[in-house]
Assembly symmetry: D2
Homo-oligomer: 348 residues x 4
């Protein structure tokens, strides 16, 4: 077992910078060897901040560097699958931001390549590492709440992204709900077989003109009979709203939002708290660190990654099914979208 993992960072934008800093400052078992970004200045800035010795003009240089063991793919979504394939061909282990791609064809090609070349791949479903959701999973695994019957996931953004982003996002189900699809199957530990999506444009008519929705409830049916809902809205005026509740045969577990402090102010108007942590960078900061630690540890110890490539594929199937359900106004089985045989079981 190697004692230290050499990493190349592909993409130095918002999430790339976060991952770079995490590896540089908080994961002593890994070293950043090289960084690349379409914007050279961006790559240079992250290199300086994180003490990365080498700035590469292209990802190819990173793949060619024999000293690099693994790559973090933090580039734009449409490049994820291609880069993952190239990384696999170069024998690099892969940490890839979600989603792997918006089409199953490219995802399947990437997964096949990864499998064939026996590299490890972890997909960036960081919320699995959040202390709150991890606690819910623990309650289910340990039997603390018995056999799960119902699950409700609330996932609302503080405000909608720019319309320019909405247009290339792949739609709310692929862009936003995908995290919740992953959360649903991670928590319940079983696969969803059918979805029914009820959705609309409530927040901004421009989103509707762009062919997308901004508000939705997706009803899930799991193979084991559990029924679930996902509540999505592009705008929660009070901030980022991320909660889950599971009812089981012995009890329930529900998580509240996370706040910047635990102060309660009582005045002649009300008894109040400050607003919850406002967006994912604050709310999920710890989980970004934990997912990278887990990736580094998995590669070094030659263990399975905690969020496999297959785990990156299923939520895309779910999103495509949700989209079809919304457009056709009826429940849609996942097998209508992807051959059931290719739906692997949840890996944990």
């Amino acid at each position: 077992m190697k004692s230290k993992l050499n990493i190349g960072l592909i993409g130095a934008g918002r999430i790339g910078k976060v991952h770079g800093e995490t590896i540089a400052f908080r994961v002593p078992e890994a070293s950043l060897i090289a960084v690349t970004d379409p914007d050279a200045a961006t790559a240079q800035a992250v290199a300086q901040r994180c003490g990365i010795p080498r700035v590469c003009a292209t990802a190819d240089e990173i793949f060619a560097d024999k000293s690099i063991d693994a790559v973090l793919i933090c580039s734009s979504t449409n490049t994820h699958a291609d880069l993952a394939i190239q990384a696999a061909l170069a024998g690099k282990h892969i940490f890839c931001e979600k989603p792997i791609d918006h089409t199953l064809e490219k995802i399947d090609l990437a997964l096949e390549t990864v499998t064939r070349h026996k590299v490890k791949m972890q997909v960036g479903f960081n919320r699995r590492f959040d202390a709150n959701f991890a606690r819910v999973r623990e309650a289910i695994v340990s039997g603390e709440i018995g056999t799960p019957h119902l699950i409700h996931i609330i996932s609302r953004d503080p405000g909608p992204p720019p319309i320019s982003y909405v247009k290339v996002s792949g739609g709310m189900f692929l862009d936003m709900t995908i995290h919740d699809f992953d959360m649903a199957r991670f928590l319940i530990g079983d696969e969803v077989t059918e979805v029914y999506a009820s959705a609309g444009v409530r927040v901004d008519p421009e989103i509707g003109k762009a062919g997308d929705v901004d508000t939705a409830v997706i009803l899930l049916r799991f193979a084991n009979g559990v029924i679930g809902t996902i509540d999505n809205c592009r705008q929660a005026p009070y901030g980022y709203d991320q909660r889950v509740e599971v009812l089981g045969s012995k009890g329930s577990i529900a998580t509240e939002n996370v706040y910047p402090n635990r102060a309660l102010v009582s005045t002649a108007e009300s008894v109040r708290r400050d607003l919850p942590l406002n967006f994912f960078m604050e709310r999920y900061l710890d989980s970004f660190e934990k997912e990278l630690r887990a990736f580094v540890e998995a590669v070094l110890a030659d263990k399975p990654t905690p969020v496999t490539a297959a785990d990156g594929r299923v939520p895309v199937v779910m999103a495509l099914a949700a989209k079809k359900s919304y457009l056709e106004g009826r429940p849609v089985k996942l097998s209508e979208v992807a051959a059931e045989a290719s739906l692997e079981t949840v890996s944990r």
Copy 2:
């Protein structure tokens, strides 16, 4: 305007006794004149407890009593519609427990008779009078949370009723969800146009054998575009679970359960509360008083009742649609179950 309302109590079982005591001890503007029950001893006991001067052998005697202004119909469900019709024919105002009936034919006949004979009718959707749900309604009416987008209703019983009851209950949608159907349209102030029910047998296989379900999520679509869910389970191990959450354009409002005390115990094991008030008699005690006060006041002041006969009909339509949706595995429009013309708007 009369200063005091003379009331006849029909049915002196569990809910009849509660309503009798409320009128006797807490509503000075009304007097209980007579009581009847198929079981004479039951009628006699309530008469003694509540100081009711006359015990009648049948409801007919109550209808024939010219001194009686109004009746409380607290008998078994299958008699509600017939008794309401007889009461209307006798010119008595009617407070009727929910549901009016399990069939639209009998409900429509009752409503027609009530309308023709110009008596007032109020249906026992007591939860509208609960301080928590009333506060949610207020937040919506006042604009405190803006335009509603999403509503979630959680409604779980502490444990399932006896199988003998399940068999005559009309099914969970008509027996249990009916309160939540009323709550949904009461809070949002608009009609549901389509439902999709996902349900199963999770708690007790005997319930399944009796042809019913015990766990369900019903997805609602309102005419105004609001999307809603109702979460029902016949068994919440921690007790009676009754909550609602509404997300609007300016904010959200969510109610928690009600507890017997506000004590927090911290030990080496956990930081904990006692369980919530365990069932509807405790949880909704205040609402039973408020609904009867409202009924007495409406009759005395010749004002509309706060929960009309029409309000009693729509939730039955919703329940029938939910049942159809569950059986056919597809979203069902309410217009498939009842002619749209007969779906009156919410009265409040």
Copy 3:
């Protein structure tokens, strides 16, 4: 054992009306036979509201009525002790509002008379019957939190009473803290031996001019070594604040305030609740009913009352000691104010 207790109501002001309605409408085991009040119209109004057959010009008429078993003394404080003495002489059982008197001399005379004439006496420390404080007591008695070490009582009014009232109130310690002194010894189940009062005028300088304080912390030392604090303020801008916390060897128990509803509103400004129930009539409504039920039951069953005459005396001793402590700026032992021999143990 008599099956029904005949009661005379002495004083039909605010608290007299509450107690009258409770007996009339909620305690079937008792009947109101007569009422008196210095203001005849007040007495008449309560008689009509509560169906009391007889309005007496004076308390003497009530004492002379052989059909009356017990009296509720709800008159002004300065008459409590004299009326209790007269009631005892007439053989009536006594429910007396707190405090019995502001001087130990009159209290001791009343207690002696009550004891000699073997009538029961209960003092109106209603908060013992509040579900929250009762739960704290239960946690201590049951050993749920082990041996108590520390107790903190928070007791703040929404706003100060009129200055005219302050002037005749006997001072904050005798008027307001007296409830908390009772609560401290009730919860801990032991006697306080020493108090140290730190106090000031923070809310209204007029209160200071009237020779009183409006803000105080009283440090308590119990015989068993428990240390306690009472936090009093005449003005909590957010309303009536009534909480307690006890730390024991196995854990702690803390009560929160009681709110009119359990709704949480989240907007762009804050996550908030409505204000707590605003004053004692709302906050302690249930406890008023429970204390009278307990009194009626104790007399009918010839059991000790749950708050004895002695329980009415000790908090006055504590208040006098607190006042002395404040004036002299030093800890004061209760034995400096009253002979220790006369400090009876807590009765429960």
Copy 4:
């Protein structure tokens, strides 16, 4: 203004390691140049972990190193004052763990030297940087709760330290309450003039035999009339309990404990949370980072440190007064312990 601060770390034990890692991994504006510890292996381990180039045999070597701008004094308490004096003589800026010393003589000598040699000094009252307490301070400064009237500080450890530690700790007031004394004056922004300490041995008789107490309530009187309490116990069975509440003329602010997650589990037994973060390393982790950032920033920008040397002195005066109060059973003015002239005002 220098762009980077060179730091020497004196003492590499528990807190030294925390501060070392913070500087190494989270404060890019500072560099660790050297480390020393009486135990060479300890120093070596921290040097390796934090990438510190030089391990010194003694603090003298650090003071002699011209490249070092500032020192972190993390050694045992009895060495703090002497090291601070030496550092000042060597012209090094000082971050010193609390308390500076247990005697005013040595503290005053250290402060005088620091002042004379014009080096900056910050004392390690890290809790001021905790998000919760900072929020309380903000509420007071901003006027959100008006003029403060009352403050309550709850500060309880999960369990007592070893008796060997108790014996050299200087006693609970100097060892544990000292943080709360600082918090009281920091939050209120004014000086305490008098304390009254009520204390006892409740947790472990061995602590009593060692001449110390384990449970106490200290009543504070501020110059501006605010009344406060500090509640200390060496053992809270449910874990580390760190809360504060302030009542002001316009409202109150209260902080709750911090929990490892925001999950609520409801079962047939209770509605419960996991225990709060168990001790200061978890609870105050963020504050350790913030205080060092503030120190580095203050030195680099030549601004006053946020917790001055004088701020390190006053809590010791308060602790000595509390001890005297406890021993003599009476309120003690701080001026009895230290000449009032030397009580500087709060620096912030």
